[in-house]
C-alpha cells in the first residue's frame, strides 16, 4: 500500500507553525506599547539615553507633572474638540455621499467616483503649502476651526468602504419603501441608516482616529501659538532638542498613555456593533 501522510498530524503541524509566527509578530507589535507604559512610571530622570527598561523607582510623578506643570490639558482639550467636530461632520458627509453614489444614478457618477479615488491616492501633504496660504488669506491660521476645515474638507473621499456596504443592502428594500410611500430621506433615515450601524461605527472610528493623532497639518497651521497646539504637536515640541528631551521624556511617555485612552475606550464601547451584521432576514437567506 502506498504510504500516506497523516492528515491529523499535518493539520497539527501547520497550526503550530501558524501560532508561532503569530506569537512572534504580536510580541514585536506589543513591545513598544509595553515599553511606553513602563517608562511612564519611571521616577528617576535619566533622559532618553538610559539603557535599561524597568524603572529603579516606580512613581506617578510623571502623570502629576503632566497635568500640573505642562499645557497638556489645554492641548488635550483642543484635540478632543477638533476630533469630535470632525467626527460628526465627516460621518454625516461620508454617509450622505455613499448613499448618493450607491443609490442614485446620475450622469458623471462613475467619473466622479474615479476622480475621488485617484485624488485620494495622492498624499494630503502635497497640498500643504497651498492650504496654508489659503487659510492665511481667510485668517484661519492658528485657529482651531481652520484645522477642522482642513480635516473635514476631504471627507467625501472616504466614501468607498461605506458605499460598498450600502451596495450590499438590497435595492428592493428601497423600492418597497418607495411604494409604501417613503421619500428619499425617509428611506435614508428609517431604512438604510438602521441597517448600516456597523459601517456608521466604522466611519466614526476612522473619522475620530485620524485628527486625534494627526501631526503634519496641525504643526504648521498652529505654528507659534502653544495655547492652540494639539497633543501631537505639543508633545513633539518636548522632544525638539536634547536638553528638553531629557527633562520631558518620561512625561512624554505618560502623555502617550493618556492619549491612547479615548481611542481604546471608543473602540471597546463600539466594537460589539462593529462586528454585528444586521442585514440577516431581510431577504431570502
Amino acid at each position: 500500500m502506498k504510504k500516506y501522510r497523516s492528515k491529523k498530524g499535518a493539520e497539527k503541524l501547520s497550526l503550530v507553525i501558524i501560532h508561532t509566527v503569530l506569537a512572534i509578530i504580536s510580541v514585536i507589535w506589543l513591545l513598544p506599547f509595553l515599553m511606553l507604559i513602563i517608562l511612564s512610571f519611571r521616577g528617576e530622570q535619566v533622559g532618553m539615553s538610559a539603557n535599561y527598561l524597568f524603572p529603579k523607582q516606580w512613581s506617578f510623578d510623571n502623570y502629576v507633572k503632566l497635568f500640573t506643570q505642562t499645557k497638556f490639558l489645554t492641548w488635550y482639550g483642543n484635540t478632543l474638540l477638533v476630533s469630535v467636530i470632525v467626527t460628526v461632520v465627516q460621518t454625516i458627509i461620508v454617509l450622505v455621499t455613499s448613499y448618493a453614489l450607491s443609490r442614485l444614478r446620475f450622469k458623471m457618477r462613475k467619473p466622479l467616483m474615479n476622480v475621488m479615488l485617484i485624488l485620494g491616492m495622492f498624499p494630503g501633504f502635497l497640498s500643504m503649502t497651498a492650504v496654508y496660504f489659503v487659510l492665511k488669506e481667510i485668517n484661519l491660521t492658528q485657529n482651531i476651526f481652520g484645522l477642522i476645515l482642513v480635516y473635514s474638507a476631504s471627507s467625501a473621499m472616504q466614501y468607498y468602504i461605506c458605499k460598498g456596504f450600502f451596495d450590499t443592502i438590497p435595492k428592493s428594500l428601497d423600492e418597497a419603501a418607495r411604494i409604501d410611500g417613503a421619500s428619499r430621506h425617509t428611506i435614508f433615515f428609517k431604512i438604510l441608516l438602521p441597517l448600516a450601524k456597523p459601517i456608521i461605527i466604522y466611519t466614526i472610528l476612522t473619522a475620530f482616529i485620524a485628527p486625534w493623532g494627526e501631526y503634519m497639518f496641525s504643526s504648521f497651521i498652529m505654528l507659534g501659538d502653544p495655547d492652540k497646539f494639539t497633543v501631537a504637536v505639543g508633545m513633539k515640541s518636548w522632544l525638539d532638542n536634547s536638553t528638553l528631551a531629557s527633562e520631558y521624556f518620561t512625561i512624554f511617555c505618560a502623555a502617550a498613555v493618556v492619549v491612547s485612552i479615548p481611542i481604546t475606550a471608543l473602540f471597546i464601547w463600539l466594537q460589539r456593533y462593529y462586528v454585528e451584521g444586521v442585514t440577516g432576514g431581510s431577504v431570502k437567506g
Binding site: 428592493s172 419603501a177 418607495r178 409604501d180 410611500g181 431581510s282 431577504v283
Partner: protein
C-alpha cells in the same frame, strides 16, 4: 380596485436595447393577470414600469383612468410583493405592516386595527412581534403579502413571489394567493416564469418573449388555440409534439406529409379552409403541432377525426396516473433527441408497450395546430385574415361562388380569372350576397360569423352576435385584393400612409388684450413640420412627445407621421399635393394624391383635380419615432 390601460408601452435602455416592445393591453377591474415567459423576456420590467420603479420610455399607462407615466410610485396607489420579500429587517412584523400606514399619518388606533385585520387575513397574528430573520420563508412571504394588502391598494403587483419557496409550500401559497384575490376584489398582476402557476392562477395570461407580447388570452384559450409556436411549446406539459411537414391540396382533401420520415395523413379540406392557399402548395414548410393527449394508441379513438401514423416506441415513462410513451415517426430515429419526428403520447398504460415496439397511433385531426416555419405564427388561426376565393371578372361584374356583383369604378381590371382575397372585416351586413349562417362565436372580444355560400364557408367579423338563420352581406371593395398568378392586380386602399416629420418649436408674438390695452406677448408654440409646412399641435400631443422622448430629444428625433384616409382633410395653408386619380368605391370616394415621393389618400365628397392642399387632423394621426421605431401616439 381599478382598471389599467397600457398603450404602446416601450422600455428602451440608453444603449438601445428594447426590453419591452409595444405592449398593449386593457386590464379590467378585479382581473388576475399573469405575465409569463422565460427570463429576460421583459415581464418584470413591464411590472416595474406599472409600479413606477422604472421609467416608461414611450407609451401611455393609465391606472383607474388617470395617466400615471410621470407619477411617483407612492401616488399610484399600488402595492408590490417582491421575489426576495424585501421586508425591513430591523423592524418587527408589526412595524413592517404599519410602515406605510404611519407614512400616511393615520392615527395609532386606526393603524392597529388595519394591521391586526391584515395579519388575521393571512394568519400571521402570532408573529407580529417577531423580526423577519426569526421566520421561515413561507411566513416571510406572508408578511410581504400582508404589507401589500394592509394599504388596500388599487392594484396588487407580485413579482415572482413564490420562486424562493420549496415545491410544497409553493402549491399551498398559490392557492392562498388565489383565495386572497377573490377575497380582496382587487386587480392582481402576477409575474412568473412558471407556466403551471400562470395556468392555475390567471384569469388572463400574457405570454412574453424577447420583449414582445406573444399572446394574451385566458389559460384555456392559450392551451387550445396558441397563436404561435412559442406559446404552443411553452404552455402545457409534456410539451406539444412538433413535426415539420408540407400541405398539399388534392381536390377535397389535403395531404399532410411529415418531413424526415414516411408518415403522411389526409384531412378533409373543410378543416383547413382558414389556411392561406399558398401554404397548400405542397412545398411551403410548416410546423405541425399536436398535443400528447391528441395522439392515441387506440386506433378507434377520435371517431371520424382520426388519421393513423406508424411509429416506433423508444422509451416509456410511468407517472402513476398516466403513462408517457416516447416514440419516433422515423423508424431510425432514437426518440430521445429533440428532433422533428419525435412524438410523445399520453396513455393509460394498459397496452404494456415496450421500447422497440412498432405501433400505429391515431392523430386527432380536429386539434391539429399549424405554424409557419419562418415566422412561427399560427397559419390555422381562429379568426382568419382573409376569405380565399376564386373569381372571374367580366364586363365590370365580379363573379364568385355563383354570385355576381357590380365592381365599383375604382377597381379597374381586365376580364379574366383571378384569386380573390376578402378580409374578414370587409364583409358587412348589407344586401348583395345572401348567406346561410352556420355559427357565430365570440373570440377575444370579436364576433366571428361563419356562413355558408354555395358549399363554401365565408368568415366575417360582425359587430354583434347574429341570431338570424340567413343574412345578406356586402363586400367592402376598398379592402379586397385580386391576384393573377400570384401577382397583385388590385391592391386594397392603404390604411395609413407615412410622412416624414419633425417636432419643432417656434417663438410667436401674440396680441393679447389686458386692461383695455393691446399688448404683444412672446410665446412658444410647438408644431409638427412635414413637407415644408408647420402645423401647431395641441398641448396634449406635445406633452406626450415630451414624455416619450424627453424635452431635448423631442426636437431632434425624426418622426413618421401616420395619416389614414380619415385623418387628412383639405384646407388652406396645407401641404402641397397633386391629385393622381379619384377612387370611387361606390359608397365612398377617395382622392389619391402625390406628396413628394409618397402617396396619401383622402376621403372626398366631390371630384378633385390638379393641385390641392392637405392638412393633417392632429387629433387622429399616429406618430412613430423613426430612429428606434417606437410608436408614440
Amino acid at each position: 380596485m381599478a382598471d389599467l390601460s397600457l398603450k404602446h408601452i416601450y422600455k428602451v435602455y440608453p444603449n438601445g436595447t428594447k426590453a419591452v416592445n409595444d405592449f398593449n393591453m386593457e386590464i379590467a377591474d378585479k382581473e388576475f393577470i399573469v405575465f409569463v415567459g422565460p427570463s429576460g423576456c421583459g415581464k418584470s420590467t413591464t411590472l416595474r414600469m406599472i409600479a413606477g420603479l422604472e421609467d416608461i420610455s414611450a407609451g401611455e399607462l393609465k391606472i383607474g383612468g388617470v395617466v400615471v407615466n410621470d407619477m411617483e410610485p407612492k401616488d399610484r396607489d399600488i402595492a408590490m410583493v417582491f421575489q426576495n420579500y424585501a421586508l425591513y429587517p430591523h423592524m418587527t412584523v408589526y412595524d413592517n405592516l404599519a410602515f406605510s400606514l404611519r407614512l400616511k399619518k393615520l392615527s395609532r388606533e386606526e393603524i392597529h386595527k388595519l394591521v391586526v385585520q391584515a395579519a388575521e387575513t393571512l394568519g400571521i397574528t402570532e408573529y407580529l412581534s417577531k423580526k423577519p430573520k426569526e421566520m421561515s420563508g413561507g411566513q416571510r412571504q406572508r408578511v410581504a403579502l400582508g404589507r401589500a394588502i394592509v394599504r388596500e391598494p388599487k392594484v396588487m403587483l407580485l413579482d415572482e413571489p413564490l420562486s424562493n419557496l420549496d415545491a410544497k409550500l409553493r402549491t399551498q401559497m398559490r392557492a392562498e394567493i388565489s383565495k386572497l384575490h377573490s377575497r380582496l376584489n382587487t386587480t392582481f398582476i402576477y409575474v412568473t416564469h412558471d407556466q403551471v402557476e400562470a395556468m392555475t392562477m390567471g384569469t388572463r395570461i400574457v405570454v412574453m418573449k424577447d420583449g414582445f407580447v406573444k399572446q394574451i388570452d385566458t389559460p384555456k384559450n392559450l392551451y387550445n388555440y396558441p397563436a404561435n409556436k412559442f406559446v404552443a411549446g411553452f404552455i402545457g406539459t409534456p410539451q406539444m409534439n412538433f413535426f415539420e411537414g408540407t400541405l398539399k391540396k388534392n381536390g377535397e382533401e389535403v395531404r399532410i406529409d411529415f418531413a424526415y420520415c414516411n408518415a403522411g395523413i389526409t384531412v378533409p379540406c373543410s378543416k383547413l379552409d382558414k389556411v392561406r392557399p399558398d401554404y397548400l402548395n405542397g412545398e411551403t414548410p410548416v410546423y405541425i403541432g399536436l398535443r400528447a393527449e391528441d395522439v392515441s394508441v387506440d386506433r378507434e379513438a377520435f371517431g371520424n377525426n382520426k388519421a393513423v401514423v406508424k411509429l416506433r416506441i423508444s422509451h416509456v415513462e410511468e407517472l402513476g396516473s398516466e403513462t408517457l410513451l416516447y416514440g419516433d415517426l422515423n423508424m431510425d430515429g432514437d426518440g430521445y433527441s429533440e428532433s422533428l419526428t419525435k412524438i410523445v403520447i399520453k396513455d393509460d398504460g394498459s397496452g404494456g408497450y415496450r421500447a422497440g415496439d412498432v405501433i400505429e397511433a391515431a392523430l386527432n385531426t380536429e386539434r391539429i395546430h399549424l405554424f409557419d416555419k419562418q415566422t412561427e405564427d399560427c397559419v390555422l388561426p381562429r379568426i382568419p385574415e382573409y376569405n380565399y376565393l376564386d373569381c372571374t371578372v367580366s364586363g365590370g361584374l365580379l363573379n364568385f361562388l355563383g354570385e355576381s356583383i357590380a365592381l365599383p369604378p375604382a377597381i379597374e381590371c381586365a376580364d379574366g380569372e383571378y384569386e380573390l382575397l376578402i378580409p374578414v372585416d370587409a364583409l358587412k351586413a348589407g344586401k348583395d350576397i345572401g348567406v346561410k349562417v352556420e355559427t357565430c362565436e365570440n373570440i377575444c372580444g370579436k364576433t366571428l360569423l361563419s356562413a355558408e355560400l354555395n358549399g363554401k364557408m365565408l368568415y366575417a367579423l360582425v359587430p354583434e352576435t347574429v341570431t338570424e338563420k340567413t343574412l345578406k352581406l356586402d363586400v367592402d371593395f376598398k379592402k379586397i385584393t385580386l391576384l393573377k398568378d400570384g401577382v397583385k392586380v388590385i391592391e386594397p386602399l392603404p390604411e395609413v400612409s407615412r410622412l416624414d416629420g419633425l417636432f419643432v418649436k417656434n417663438k410667436v408674438k401674440k396680441l393679447t388684450e389686458a386692461d383695455g390695452k393691446v399688448k404683444t406677448v412672446k410665446a412658444i408654440e410647438f408644431s409638427l413640420e412635414t413637407e415644408g409646412k408647420r402645423f401647431t399641435v395641441p398641448d396634449t400631443l406635445a406633452q406626450k412627445l415630451f414624455a416619450a422622448l424627453g424635452v431635448r430629444k423631442a426636437f431632434n428625433s425624426p418622426l413618421k407621421i401616420e395619416c389614414g384616409a380619415g385623418s387628412l382633410i383639405f384646407g388652406e395653408n396645407g401641404i402641397n399635393a397633386r391629385v393622381e386619380r379619384m377612387l370611387d368605391y361606390g359608397a365612398e370616394k377617395f382622392v389619391k394624391c402625390r406628396v413628394g415621393e409618397k402617396f396619401v389618400y383622402l376621403l372626398a365628397d366631390k371630384d378633385y383635380d390638379g393641385e390641392v392642399r392637405i392638412v393633417p387632423d392632429l387629433d387622429k394621426i399616429g406618430i412613430i419615432e423613426a430612429e428606434r421605431n417606437i410608436r408614440i401616439i
